[in-house]
Symmetry: C2
Subunit: 196 residues, 2 copies
Amino acid sequence: MNICTYSYEEYLHLVKSFHGNLAPGLIIGGFIVDLAMKHLPEGEFFDAISETTVCLPDAVQILTPCTIGNGWLSIVNFGRFAVTLYEKYTGKGVRVFLDTKKLDAWPEVRDWYLKKKKKNEQNYELLMAQIKEAGHGLLSVQRVQVEPEKVHRKKMGPVGVCPVCGEAYPLKDGASCRNCQGETPYSDVVSVSVLK
Amino acid sequence: MNICTYSYEEYLHLVKSFHGNLAPGLIIGGFIVDLAMKHLPEGEFFDAISETTVCLPDAVQILTPCTIGNGWLSIVNFGRFAVTLYEKYTGKGVRVFLDTKKLDAWPEVRDWYLKKKKKNEQNYELLMAQIKEAGHGLLSVQRVQVEPEKVHRKKMGPVGVCPVCGEAYPLKDGASCRNCQGETPYSDVVSVSVLK
């Protein structure tokens, strides 16, 4: 049993190294990306969509060339456990999702996924064993037509210097940067002198 | 000259492998994360903020344990070229940013960063050489107090099955999932039968 070009054990190792822990969702995510890769439509350049922020983006980043920083991976925060790979120009794609109709054969996965058990009631070993045994059996596949402009990262456009903080920012955001317009997550900022 | 625990050349290799190409912003991003790590406040667990979606999130994901999928990396889309690392409970942090006041010593970096030259007018070799030579010299450091609740990923909360698509989704989103409420990026969806 492989996950893309890796053995199952190699994939677990990559997950631990990149993600920090063997999250069940990321193991299922490996099977999701693997199944999507096996059903790619024709084409050369594929972009990715993760329909949740949790775990799945890391499966995409580990197994495909698509990352958040290069813009080939988009996240739409639907909270659905699904990944779509699509040809970047035509939008023709394949979507693979965790199918709730297939969960009853794997009760530990079902109870974890639908949050029917608290964390301390879950049997992690059994959960991981069922995920491995189920593999693609938890998943279903759809052909989808993506409207790329709905998910693609917007171009930054012309750059200016914010009159408040003095840093460069996209002029399309307004007369000052979004931080200085009040969206800042910082309640206090103090400059530090750094020795060269 | 090192970037965190890697030599400069090792870091370039990691960038190419993860991000796909040697983007100038990701090389500067390496220096940003490196300088932030050298100024960490006291504490054990650090989360990260990237203030842009472009390139910088990948520097964080390559060099720290923080990823999009594990929730320790947050992105605030200010379009500012800055990374903050902060203690996850107290919010005490260090912010490192590309300082526009330091750009004049590095004209090729300045013209690239402020978009004063079109892509075909840029000298990539010179740009990369100036970035390497400048290193931390392009950057400034601030002590910041982060309000973690403004950037942390929200908890998913209770899960239900969407009456429209039949997939699991966070009940806090409403009576159906956000895709089925009309935010979908898909104009067409067709189920596929998969041979086991």
